[in-house]
Amino acid sequence: MELYDIIFYLFAAITIVSGIVVVNAKNIVHSAFSLLLTFFGVSGIYVLLGADFLAIVQIMVYVGGILILLLFGVMLTNKITDVEIRSGSFQVFPAIIGLAAFAAILFGVMTSTNWKTESFEIPATTTFQLGRLLISEYALVFELLGILLLVALIGAASIARRDKE
């Protein structure tokens, strides 16, 4: 067991345990906060994989953006004065059985496949590489994503405000 392995297990545990809490917590706010932990865990895994820029983006966008957005959603769709910000589950057993089998199959596929693992020389910092790719090979995708975000922004605003007229 190297230090690297220990750190990996740590982050994997954080990710999975908090993920279990996310999908099982009765209180939605609890779910949201454990989602924060999950994102941190995933971010740590990114670091272990050498994707430093992505790890930062993960924190900034997911934690700083999406999670806040989700919390807003929770707040806006529940009466805040109501202490019970609770939400139940249903069809738990069929889902557990089905998904366990599904996960088992995925796991089986994973282990039975002979992955060709050549360790790739990851540069010390990926930011430069990513930036270069974004404005050269993936310039079109980059532009399209920009437009998509703009459309999503306008669309979200217009959908949410529709019946104000």
Binding site: G19, V23, V61, Y62, S87, G155
Partner: protein
């Protein structure tokens, strides 16, 4: 650190990362399928997207694909942001119409 990682015989390999990804994916799907609150369903979707991202980065690291995998993960994050914004707008509309966001009670499809 890179040097160290390469020189040492590490226990953790591709499969470990993929296992985390599988578990996270199943958890996300479980959340999507079982939770009643629409916001919770969205959280499940985020979990699924994260597991996919782990896959991207892991293959990018262990496969010989260069850095492109990471770039795709980046795109997924952007898409996730857009998706979350739209989905929450829809959820707000549902709330305005039905006064709750429980997906199991919104079953107009049945009639």
């Amino acid at each position: 650190m890179q040097e160290e990682i390469r020189n040492k015989k590490l226990e953790v390999g591709l499969n470990h990362f993929l296992t985390v990804s599988v578990v996270l994916f199943s958890l996300g799907l479980y959340g999507v399928v079982t939770r009643k609150n629409a916001v919770m369903v969205l959280m499940g979707v985020e979990l699924i997207l994260n597991s996919a991202n782990i896959n991207f980065v892991a293959f990018s690291r262990f496969g010989n694909f260069g850095i492109n995998g990471e770039l795709y993960a980046l795109f997924v994050i952007i898409l996730a942001a857009a998706e979350a914004a739209i989905a929450l707008a829809i959820v707000l509309n549902i709330y305005k119409r039905f006064a709750n966001v429980n997906v199991d009670e919104i079953n107009n499809l049945k009639e």
